[in-house]
Symmetry: C2
Subunit: 562 residues, 2 copies
């Protein structure tokens, strides 16, 4: 008898699981239940549809050759029965059936399974505050949300909007709505945008986003204010009122675990459906994949919610195969790699940030490297990378990278390095593709490893821009040494009482340095390469308390004199 496979959920993980199951067994009876009217939506593409990067809505729903992935396509091309507008309402584990309801006709039905794959996804968090039901408040989770916001773009009526939540979706939505000609205010409850970044990198992103939108951090929405049922303003927790006609709530998502919970399946420590490495739930006939599950962070060993489109697909592939063949293939887990674009700026991270590493109880060493992705003559653009390595082993734990340069390649390199359990010394002499259109002779990632190696070996002592700012604010007795040229100093500078001596003059002008060789000297330049040379030089000349401001002025996110 043919195997019966039922898949609940038709966005990303579900269709992938169904398709993989089909390829493993041409004769299985595979049924997909999808609550929404659409199937296999490229939901990560919504912001780009709203922002007008393309106009054909069907591109979000099509194969690369332009065939819309509707039930007819699924039946013809994949031999999969896809029921849309169909909500799975109950799983009967004893009878191995799923009850469902047609949301248009109201009809109900029951379907049998040999193996069930749950891909019920996640839903947006909504703040339980006054006015949340006003017209003009939306999330960006469904195709219908995308349609709503795209219509707003096309109608050009709305002038002001707030985006609530400064995470990936919030930031992408900010770009999309700005491109629609709408004035945006981003509101984030935490002290920084993009919580997967450490504070100092998040602040660099924030400074950039502020050139395109208003950004308010450390403040939340207390109330939505409306007239005649329509949103007119949001009131913040500090009392500020921001007039707006549109609010997009993007404060994260929650896994849809209700069906699983009702069926008595185990829910994990992070709140997602618990699965093992085969993507199998606590019931051996039921798998779960995608945003409704929690998976292991392979660095910390702890389970996490990782609602990423790429992982959903990979998990679906694993479950689809295991549902047919028995548990053959494993999904190892995640290192929580992510990336986003905001206008001409790119932001990515993989593995642990310093903050996450601290929470995981790991002692780490970090460095910040600010330098271009390519030579100046090929219009190289700045990248700022923060690398996090385990103190004891020098194993790479994580990297964050922001800037207008090629962040995607940098994060891909570090993600693969983490996969390979590489240490700093492995990356110091990595053999990466070099030609001027693509990188510097020493790729930014390798240069980052060099700086880390130098720091580990004690060739310099680093200090973060934040610590330097605190010392300045506290009027500590420090000697700030800007090692750039006079022209550069004239064009841009901290203005915090620093002394400017170009590194090329330093040997001749050592007499301008403090007499007290124990005095704290902090060196820097634009990116802190010359600052590093100066620090090494001063140490060799007997200065005992020299620190390099990591990343130099390119990492300085506070206001400057110039």
């Amino acid at each position: 008898m043919n195997k019966k496979i039922v898949v609940i959920g038709g966005s990303a993980a579900g269709p992938k699981a169904a398709a993989r199951a089909r390829r493993m067994d041409e004769f299985a009876e595979i049924t997909l239940l999808q609550k929404s009217p659409d199937l296999s939506m490229a939901s990560c593409g919504y912001p780009y549809y709203i922002g007008g990067f393309f106009d054909d809505r069907n591109m979000l729903l099509s194969t690369p050759t332009g065939v819309v992935r509707d039930p007819k396509f699924y039946w013809n091309a994949k031999g999969i029965v896809a029921k849309v507008n169909t909500e799975a309402t109950k799983i009967n584990r004893d009878k191995k059936t799923v009850e469902f309801k047609d949301l248009q006709s109201g009809e109900t039905g029951t379907i049998e399974y040999d193996k069930l794959i749950i891909a019920s996804g996640a839903r947006p968090k909504l703040p339980p505050i006054e006015g949340i039901d006003l017209d003009g408040i939306t999330t960006l989770q469904s195709m219908q949300d995308a349609d709503y916001l795209r219509k707003i773009r096309d109608e050009k009526k709305i002038k002001k909007a707030v985006v609530i939540g400064g995470g990936l979706i919030g930031i992408e939505t900010t770009e999309a709505l700005n491109l629609a000609g709408i004035e945006i205010t981003v509101i984030e409850l935490l002290p920084q945008l993009l919580a997967f970044l450490d504070y100092e990198l998040a602040k660099l992103v924030e400074n950039y986003v502020k050139t395109k939108a208003n950004v308010i951090t450390g403040n939340g929405v207390a109330k939505f204010i409306g007239e005649n049922g329509k949103l007119t303003a949001v009131k913040l927790q500090n009392g500020t009122e921001i007039p707006c006609e549109l609010a997009v709530v993007a404060i994260g998502v929650l896994p849809n675990t209700m069906l699983a919970k009702d069926a008595g399946l185990k829910i994990g420590e992070a709140g997602g459906i618990f699965v093992d490495e085969y993507m199998q739930t606590s019931d051996q006939d039921i798998y779960a994949v995608g945003d409704c599950t929690e998976i292991k962070n392979t660095i910390t060993g702890h389970n996490v919610l990782a609602p990423y489109g790429d992982l959903a697909n990979l998990e679906g592939r694993v479950a689809g195969e295991n549902a047919i063949l028995g548990n053959k293939v494993k999904f190892p887990g995640t290192i929580q790699t992510g990336i986003c674009k905001v206008f001409d700026y790119h932001v990515g991270a993989t593995g642990l940030s310093e903050c996450w590493a601290a929470k995981a109880g790991k002692e780490v060493i970090t460095v910040v490297n600010a330098s271009p992705d390519k030579p100046g003559f090929m219009q190289g653009k700045l990248l700022v990378t923060k690398l996090v390595v385990e103190k004891e082993t020098c194993k790479i734990l994580g990297a964050q990278c922001v800037g207008p340069g090629d962040v995607s390649k940098q994060i891909a390199i570090w993600a693969t390095a983490i996969k390979g359990n590489l240490k700093v010394e492995d990356m110091v002499n990595a053999d990466l593709p070099y030609a001027p259109p693509f990188s510097l002779a020493i790729d930014h990632s390798i240069a980052t490893a060099h700086i880390m190696q130098n720091k580990i070996r004690g060739l310099f002592k680093g200090i973060s821009v934040r610590e330097v700012k605190e010392k300045i604010d506290k009027k500590e007795d420090i000697f700030l040494l800007d090692t750039r040229g006079a022209d550069e100093f004239e064009a841009m500078r901290l203005g915090a009482g620093e002394t400017q001596i170009p590194v090329g003059m330093l040997r001749k002008r050592l007499n301008e340095l403090p007499e007290d060789k124990n005095k704290e000297i902090i060196t820097y330049c634009k990116i802190s390469l010359r600052g590093y040379e100066a620090a090494v030089l001063l140490q060799a000349h007997g200065y005992k308390n020299v620190k390099l401001m990591e990343g130099g002025l390119s990492a300085w996110y506070y206001p400057r004199e110039k």
Copy 2:
């Protein structure tokens, strides 16, 4: 007493070694002898200067902040004595001195060393054929060569040129001269361009280059023809004469080992100066770095010449440190990663090609994956990757990638995977940065690993476009199945007697397949994803000899009917 360090060579590896030595010892006496008038030239940037990507020659010679790296800069910023126009003429190992000659004044001198670092580089190979001394024949190796070719661009007098040699430099020069408005013919002795690629990928590149230049493979230059001392044509080995006013010879480089050989230093199996993992020669007081050396290919264990700018810098850094501190740091060797751009097409490789693997005696499995780098709605561009893995272990040995898409990231991923000794199964569930502006939900590299995994597990049998073409030419009794839609078939097709059945109709039209279930059926589509689905489907329906044409029509480099 201060340590005396002498460095011979001032292009890439030499200056890096000198600078690193300085940072390790502020008080060492460091002298750099440079035969050319310029120092620290970004020689990989020459093609882009010639091609007019930028106009300021000094950008090739400057720090990122625009300071020209001349002897004054080296003295002020680094405390390094850099003697330009100064040729090292002899190494006296017994006295530990280097003799040198000022090429402008003719004066000679001798300098003592405690540690010597040889970075004497490489020189272009020149074919020993008639007419090689005619005006209008050049290489592209030195700043002077770059000046010569840039002048040709600016003067706009020359109409036709030949580029002799279809390697990296030849290809980059082709682009540069084409951008100068010159009609180019590329002549390559081997049957293909870019010998680091396997034949089928090289042919895809060749087809692209042919849209911009004439390409002749499998033919060499027999003679340069001139009038009044000026080049007027090249005559090929098959008798063809190609009129031209300029010939750029780019048939490779030879390591400059004369000085080292004369001093009795060991020369290695590949013809470069022999060094150990500390970059130390057979004399413990002499190191050698950059293009004059040979280094270990870490996959094969054999020494190779690897004249790459990035490795030169990394080797210099290692030698500079070891010369000061004793042998502290190691250089592991190379996996011969390379990349080049030719107009809007990118070509990269890392590790072993199938051809190199065969020479190294390794049994491998390969797959070709043709698919875009990003979603269609984000203007994704095609990438064609060939992945090579060791048959016994499934360890990744090499990858080649060509196409208009983001090749650089792909090769960086595979290079890092090789560094980490990763296997196919590690890459199958890699956690790479995904957002639509940067990749598909399943990154091209991961999709490539999926195809490889499917092949290893026997889910499909692959066949290369070359083998299919041979079968067609031999009129073998095969059934060619194009699984694309009718519109696609109308727009482009092989025209080799194939049957077109869209994969979505295949289950209903199985009766159109051969009755003999043992007949050889070859399936394909544009990229062979639908071709794969068809192959799996047919196998499930009892067809016993189904093969998938890997890479589909995107990998087909022969002429087509349409």
